[in-house]
């Protein structure tokens, strides 16, 4: 009971903070919101390869919706999310987006889970002028140039997931400042877009911090045994091994490298940032560092409340994807609150919501949250390291510049 009361207090506090200076307009619009439904859609990968992430996002989204609706909704309007599974398939993802949008009711979309699908879905949402908020995609070309090679920025595409273009350089910078490594080897899955993108970022970054990349070792994500690429990497005797893959690969590389006697540092990307990877790597992963959008043990109230409520509802620990899903709903709720929605002109409401999203400035489990002018995340980067027993420790937090 106490926890619920606390949850309500925080949600109210958030709501008040969000209303900010516009209390007078807030009062006048609340009547028109009363009893209405703010319909959202989410396209997540609940099955297939992306199902390591989609269900977490969904939990975060559902928890936030439940909390907000329980505490008075958005100026009295109820949030509703229609979540669909794209089976980690880009083709189905685009089909779903089209179906959801053309049904004509929803004000904004969340997702999709995988970058591969995002490059298909985001331009579609842009062409229909429906705001879309990416909740887990970290690749290049998500925002603002969703229509690349066209350089006209996409007006309706946002993301609340920290891009690798921010996370990886921050991680390298922090490690370089404290340990002064001089050599590195990059291991990259060249047939995987996520890993290739991350690898490119590493290649473009290391030079600035005095690290010489001795070799870039490309392998296929279908590689069964990583002994071969790891042997090649270890024989170069680098200070750092960079790993930009995701799923089971980073842990397999770390375990193999330690077996072969590598004693240097592992640095990586978003692929490190789940407890699953830390658990799979076990002792071999101890000390591996990455830049993360979120850290579970952060004690500021908006995170402590989220973690607490999540554990209560799902009897398990949240992860970064749950936090980003939760934050996405807070962001949309805040924008909806200030957007003076009419509830009878869907197209107009979508544009009003979009405009309001640009000025979001709220507290989330990710920390204080704003969008940059290019609709990307502006948040603190939490550099974390694996603790060797399935969890993480905070190394340093880096505020956005």
């Amino acid at each position: 009971m106490r926890s619920m009361a606390r949850g309500i207090t925080v949600a109210l506090a958030l709501a008040l903070a969000a209303c900010g200076g516009s209390a007078s307009t807030g009062a006048s619009t609340s009547n028109s919101y009363q009893g209405k439904t703010i319909q959202l859609g989410a396209i997540l990968s609940m099955t297939g390869a992306g199902s390591a992430y989609g269900p977490s996002s969904k939990n975060g989204i559902d928890l936030a919706v439940e909390t907000i609706n329980k505490t008075g909704g958005v100026n009295g309007a109820t949030l509703a999310v229609d979540t669909r599974d794209d089976a980690s398939d880009k083709i189905q993802s685009a089909q779903l987006a089209q179906t959801l949008i053309q049904q004509g009711q929803l004000l904004a979309l969340l997702g999709p889970t995988l970058s591969n699908s995002a490059v298909a879905v985001h331009p579609l949402a842009e062409s229909f002028k429906v705001p879309i908020l990416a909740v887990s995609t970290t690749g290049i070309n998500i925002v603002p140039n969703c229509n690349a090679p066209s350089t006209v920025p996409c007006a309706y595409v946002f993301r609340d997931s920290l891009g690798e273009e921010t996370a990886i350089p921050t991680n390298i910078k922090i490690y370089a400042a404290k340990a002064h490594p001089t050599t590195g080897v990059l291991l990259v899955a060249s047939d995987d877009k996520f890993s290739s993108d991350g690898g490119k970022i590493v290649q473009n970054t290391v030079g600035q911090y005095g690290i010489q990349l001795l070799d870039t070792i490309a392998f296929s994500k279908l590689t069964a045994d990583f002994a071969t690429p790891v042997t090649k990497a270890v024989q170069k005797k680098p200070d750092v091994i960079f790993i930009t893959s995701l799923g089971g690969i980073p842990a397999k590389i770390m375990i193999e490298a330690r077996k072969q006697g590598f004693s240097g540092q592992f640095l990586g990307g978003n692929g490190f940032n789940t407890a699953v990877v830390s658990k799979q790597a076990g002792a071999a992963g101890k000390g591996a560092e990455s830049g993360s959008a979120w850290f579970i043990d952060n004690t500021f109230p908006s995170n402590a409340e989220f973690v607490h409520a999540y554990r209560n509802k799902f009897t398990s620990d949240p992860d970064q994807f749950a936090a980003q899903g939760y934050a996405a709903i807070l962001i949309l709720a805040d924008a909806a609150k200030r957007a003076n929605l009419t509830f009878n002109d869907v197209a107009g409401d979508r544009t009003r919501l979009r405009t309001a999203m640009e000025s979001v400035n709220i507290q989330t489990p990710l920390g204080p949250f704003q969008f940059t002018s290019t609709h990307d995340v502006k948040q603190t980067v939490w550099v974390i390291q694996m603790d060797g027993i399935g969890g993480f420790q905070l190394v340093q937090s880096v505020k956005p510049s």
């Binding site: 390869a49 045994d225 090649k232 842990a251 699953v276 799979q280």
Partner: protein, 304 residues
């Protein structure tokens, strides 16, 4: 380079063990069993489940898992293969029905999290896990600058012994003779009083038990157990192996497994990049064009 050859021999034994089961079914039933990779995955998943979720020691867990995989082989025979034979469907149909079964097996594991229908089997959905450290002792030997792991050595020995046993059974026992008779000509074998259906069922049992064993050894040595290890990491490689060795030939599959391991590693070292996966398939392509009967001599060409 020497270390890379050690790596090649090890991964070669996993490929070989997987491919032996694959080729056995092809040799006897004339069917490509595409559910074999899903059984490989389940071998690892079931062992992990017994060890990590139900607190069983590794060895009994492995034995149970191998047996259950054998039973899954029977399931494949009774659900996906026998009904098609009864209806005289073209062999290509069996390809589709086994794909259907593979889809089901993978989806069951992929969707299993605590509290769901299959939560007793698997907790980690689409994620990868590894055996808890200390599941089996893993001493590491350093011999002349080479790193050799105890588990990998054990796996090498296990697979070689098993493949020799299988080779012996097929070649020199009563059952083996029946098996080869069915493989040569099932109608003639039936006339000779051999119960063909029973041979098919036992073939599937043995093949799937081997597949499951390969899977659990893979999971143990490579520290990667997920719903996708079969489909992504060994299915196509297994196909390449049985082609290299000659379709349906057990010794061919064994040699083919080691050969593929070697080709991959050499390609990786020589070209130093992602060409390696392409090379395996280019080799496959070339072998088929130049020697469709497989790389090895006439003695190995005969089935099984």
């Amino acid at each position: 380079m020497a270390q890379q050859v050690v790596n090649a021999i090890f991964i070669g034994s996993i490929y070989a063990l997987f491919a032996v089961g694959y080729t056995l079914v092809f040799g006897v039933l004339d069917v490509l069993n595409l559910a074999h990779s899903a059984v490989f995955m389940l071998g690892a998943v079931i062992t992990y489940s017994l060890v990590a979720l139900h607190g069983m020691p590794f060895l009994p867990a492995a034995v149970i898992a191998v047996f259950v995989c054998g039973l899954l082989g029977l399931l494949i025979e009774f659900v996906a293969l026998r009904p098609l034979r009864r209806r005289n469907a073209p062999p290509i149909s069996a390809l589709i029905s086994t794909i259907g079964l593979a889809l089901i097996f993978v989806a069951i594991v992929e969707q299993a999290t605590p509290g769901t229908l299959f939560g007793w089997l698997w907790h980690d959905g689409a994620n990868s896990v590894s055996f808890p450290s200390g599941t089996v002792p893993n001493p590491t030997y350093h011999v002349g600058g080479l790193t050799i792991e105890g588990t990998k050595l054990g796996i090498l020995i296990t697979s070689v012994v098993l493949m020799l046993v299988l080779g012996y059974v097929v070649r020199f026992t009563q059952v083996g003779r029946a098996l080869r008779a069915v493989a040569e000509n099932r109608r003639a074998a039936a006339l000779l009083g051999i119960n063909v259906d029973r041979i098919f069922a036992s073939t599937l049992f043995v093949s799937s038990a081997l597949g499951g064993l390969a899977g659990l050894l893979f999971g143990l040595a490579i520290s990667d157990i997920s719903p996708y290890i079969g489909r992504d990491q060994v299915e196509l490689k297994g196909l390449a192996v049985i082609v290299l060795g000659g379709m349906g030939s057990i010794p061919g599959a064994v040699l083919g497994g080691y050969l593929l391991g070697l080709i991959e590693v050499l390609a990786f070292v020589r070209f130093g990049s992602n060409v390696e996966a392409g090379v395996a398939f280019a080799a496959l392509f070339l072998v088929l064009i130049v020697r469709p009967q497989g790389l090895f001599g006439a003695r190995l060409r005969e089935r099984l």
